[in-house]
Symmetry: C2
Subunit: 137 residues, 2 copies
DNA sequence: CATTACTCTATAAAATCTATAGAGTAATAG
DNA sequence: CTATTACTCTATAGATTTTATAGAGTAATG
């Protein structure tokens, strides 16, 4: 399951994407409309900024805005930034690989290959879909 | 990511499936061969028994054994029993549905439909694969 | 230069995951 | 019938992650 952080982050991004025409969006605005704890949201948006998804502007007329076209931002990227690995096991993660301490031989592990298959399956969908697709609904 | 409990559980099931011809399998045997903390494994196997996946026999010559043909046990079932929901959000879970407290209208939620699609995509694969498939590797 | 709004650090409650200990009970062999 | 084997059950507890909250600070705008 996705963490609340991820869910909040995605909802916030959709909100910002939809408001793109009206300039930067306020944290407090998103917080109220999407029922997300403000301080928590603040940290999430900061994270998204750190990873180059969002930009921000301070002072009057400030707020957060997207740095790229929503069509260029894949769901795979967003879930990785917000939630972490997409793979079900660390040993089949492409971006967060980690060896399993148990498991003497990865190639002979019964789970390894199967989980790699699951990963590919999920990734295939998540890379096809973008933030733009979420704004259509 | 799957919990260690799930990983341990799956490895144990594969081990038991492979040993099916030699009668019930000992906890301590699985624990040693698969490098799984014995007491932790004990709890996991008990869980699997509770859900009708495993049976057990006490005393000499006892141990755990599968109650069904490995081909009849889908990976979807196992992950649900061991790890919980397959869906990425509670509101799109078929077996563990829960309404999101935020989110006034599920039908209008931008995440809801997309996450349902992800769920179907994953489920499709997990229901095709069985414990038997894992024993082949 | 006052206001607005993001930034940064610290903190902490709550939940979940991982693991361990030990007494208890059922089954079997001999 | 009894010793041994092996699962059962309850309790507990450390570690980690998740979900938040508070408040002082800083940059930009008009």
């Amino acid at each position: 399951m996705l963490s609340k952080k991820t869910k909040y982050g995605l909802k916030a991004l959709v909100y910002i994407a939809k408001q793109a025409d009206n300039g930067p969006v306020l944290i407090s605005d998103i917080s109220e409309k999407e029922t997300i704890p403000k301080k928590f949201l603040e940290a999430i948006l900061l994270d998204l900024k750190k990873f180059g998804i969002l930009g921000s502007k301070k002072g009057k007329g400030g707020g957060y805005y997207l740095l790229k076209d929503p069509k260029e931002i894949t769901m795979a990227t967003l879930i990785r930034v917000l939630d972490g690995p997409i793979a079900m096991l660390p040993c089949v993660s492409l971006n967060f690989y980690e060896r399993c301490e148990d498991c003497p031989n990865e190639e002979l592990c019964s789970l390894h290959h199967f989980m790699a298959q699951v990963r590919d399956n999920t990734l295939n969908l998540l890379q096809q879909k973008s933030l733009y697709d979420l704004t259509l609904l």
